[in-house]
């Protein structure tokens, strides 16, 4: 190849992806990484990998393994030819799964719709899965329940549980981190309002933040690996309400105001509790886990209480 050609070689991600697809069409049985590398020697390994990963994730490419190592293959061509070659039962099941979209379908429902015996369906599902035409996704709605959908689809929120789930596991710590960050934001806003020494009404009003503002703050913090919606943030803000740390007011908003939904806007503000911890919890018996079993003369009694001794000597 000539140097001129090299100069023409683009490093634009879209161009790289398109070139990879062209290569795949030239070699329908699949190409190795080496083929791509040879074709565009001046594209860095990092860029190449990004392009391939993207194509894989949007379902345009398939990753296969043969004796030579990994093979990339165009998907659409692939599936079409595969299904063509398989029998009608397989075709029917594939169709049902395709119709279910990204919400997926449970194997028992496939049985009702196809009228095939469950054993047969399980065989077909296994087959389709191994060909990477479909995939099984664990649903958060009911644990241990798997739903099937086309391989290249992004599962719906109702299946994954949304931002709070990673591989069907609820990410508790993530929620708590967001809870703390949202509160920090509202708290500093309330403090700034107090320090402003403005009239009480202005102070109160400037302590409010819309859910949109909180959402923006969290996005800019960059603590989330996944994209969070404003609704996600409102869910977190709700936990702060139940923590007794935040109050929410709904106000009418002009059409088109940033952060307004259906002419309404939710306002949040950090608030102080009305009491300090109550007297009872400042004393040992207030927190005692065996309180109801405590009787003088009993196995657990005030005079042999280890909590009491520890607390008194502290």
């Amino acid at each position: 190849m000539t140097e001129v050609k090299v100069k023409k070689e683009s490093t634009d991600p879209v161009d790289i992806e398109n070139r990879i697809k062209e290569l795949c069409q030239q070699f329908p049985q699949g190409i190795t990484d080496q083929v791509i590398q040879n074709d565009m020697p001046h594209v860095e390994a990092q860029q190449r990998a990004t392009a391939i990963n993207r194509l894989l994730s949007v379902g345009q490419l398939d990753l296969l393994r043969n004796s030579n190592g990994l093979l990339y293959r165009l998907k659409d061509l692939q599936s079409a030819s595969k299904v063509k070659g398989s029998d009608n039962q397989e075709k029917l099941v594939y169709q049902i799964i395709e119709d279910a979209g990204n919400k997926g379908i449970w194997s028992r429902d496939i049985r009702y719709k196809s009228n095939l015996p469950l054993t047969e369906i399980n065989k077909i599902l296994k087959n389709l899965e191994s060909k990477k035409l479909i995939k099984a996704v664990k649903s958060v709605a009911a644990s241990k329940k798997k739903v099937y959908m086309l391989y290249n689809l992004q599962p719906d929120r109702s299946v994954t549980g949304g931002a709070w789930y990673s591989d069907q596991d609820f990410e508790s710590e993530f929620v708590e981190v967001l809870n703390q960050q949202c509160f920090k934001f509202l708290q500093s806003k309330a403090e700034a309002a107090r320090d402003s020494k403005q009239s009480p009404m202005v102070q109160r009003n400037s302590s409010f933040a819309t859910s949109h503002e909180v959402w923006k703050y969290i996005c800019e913090l960059g603590i989330s690996k996944v994209d969070l919606s404003m609704e996600d943030i409102e869910t977190i803000l709700n936990t702060l309400i139940f923590d007794g740390k935040v109050e929410m007011t709904i106000i009418a908003a002009k059409e088109g105001t940033v952060g307004s939904v259906d002419g309404q806007m939710k306002l949040y503000r950090g608030v102080n509790p009305i009491i300090q911890p109550t007297g009872l919890v400042k004393t040992p018996c207030g927190l005692c886990p065996v309180f109801d079993d405590c009787h003088e003369g009993g196995e657990i009694s005030p005079s042999n209480c280890v909590y009491m001794v520890e607390w008194l000597d502290f």
Binding site: G279, P289, E296, Y307
Partner: protein, 213 residues
């Protein structure tokens, strides 16, 4: 009433709460829990500061003061056959605080009046005049303290017997025999109403302090 802590007396079925058999069981029903399981949370520190300190002092002083007032009824004071060295000093304290109590009989049922012998104030040991500058004899003090402790030890074993031989003070007639004249006059009779505890001797139960529960 306090509710049970879930030792086989739950008011709901465990399955409803979503706890299947063998799975995720509450501590009490699986393995024997330690008598005092470790605490997850420690009590919040007690409130300190002027108000809390002052209220504490008020509480303790009040409690102390009540014991010196005539309302604090001791069944019977043990006979003082050992005179404490410190008695001389404490005497003032007690007389000062226990202003005599004179119930206003217009406000109380007559049947509660106690028929008493003539006041015996004079009987109480005369307080000897103190020299201006008392000489402290350390050995004397120690001796007194020791005697006293010895005495208390003996005392505590006697007490249990004292409890049993409760005298049945029968005064069915006595109570109604109060003197109308005395009642009107509010004389010494009333003033000494609660003064002399020795009158009600016999019912010694110093160790009741320990038997609250």
């Amino acid at each position: 009433m306090m509710a049970g802590r879930g030792r086989g007396q739950l008011t709901f079925s465990v399955e409803i709460v979503g706890i299947g058999k063998g799975e995720n069981l509450p501590p009490s029903s699986v393995q024997p829990t330690p008598l005092f399981p470790p605490l997850d949370q420690k009590p919040v520190p007690l409130q300190t500061g002027e108000e809390a300190e002052y209220m504490l002092a008020l509480k303790q002083e009040f409690r102390g003061a009540m014991k010196t007032l005539p309302f604090y009824i001791r069944p019977a004071a043990p006979k003082k056959d050992v005179e404490r060295y410190s008695d001389k000093y404490q005497k003032t304290e007690t007389t000062d605080n226990s202003l005599e109590w004179k119930p206003d009989w217009r406000r109380f049922p007559k049947e509660l009046r106690v028929r008493e012998k003539r006041p015996q104030r004079d009987k109480s040991p005369a307080v000897p005049k103190q020299p201006k500058q008392p000489r402290v004899d350390k050995e004397e003090i120690i001796r007194k303290l020791e005697t006293l402790e010895q005495k208390e030890k003996e005392g505590s074993s006697d007490e249990e017997e004292g409890e049993k031989k409760k005298p049945e003070e029968e005064e069915a007639e006595g109570e109604e025999e109060y003197d109308e004249e005395e009642f009107e006059g509010e004389t010494d009779y009333v003033m000494s109403y609660f003064d002399n505890e020795e009158e009600f001797g016999g019912d010694s139960d110093d160790n009741m302090d320990e038997a609250i529960y």
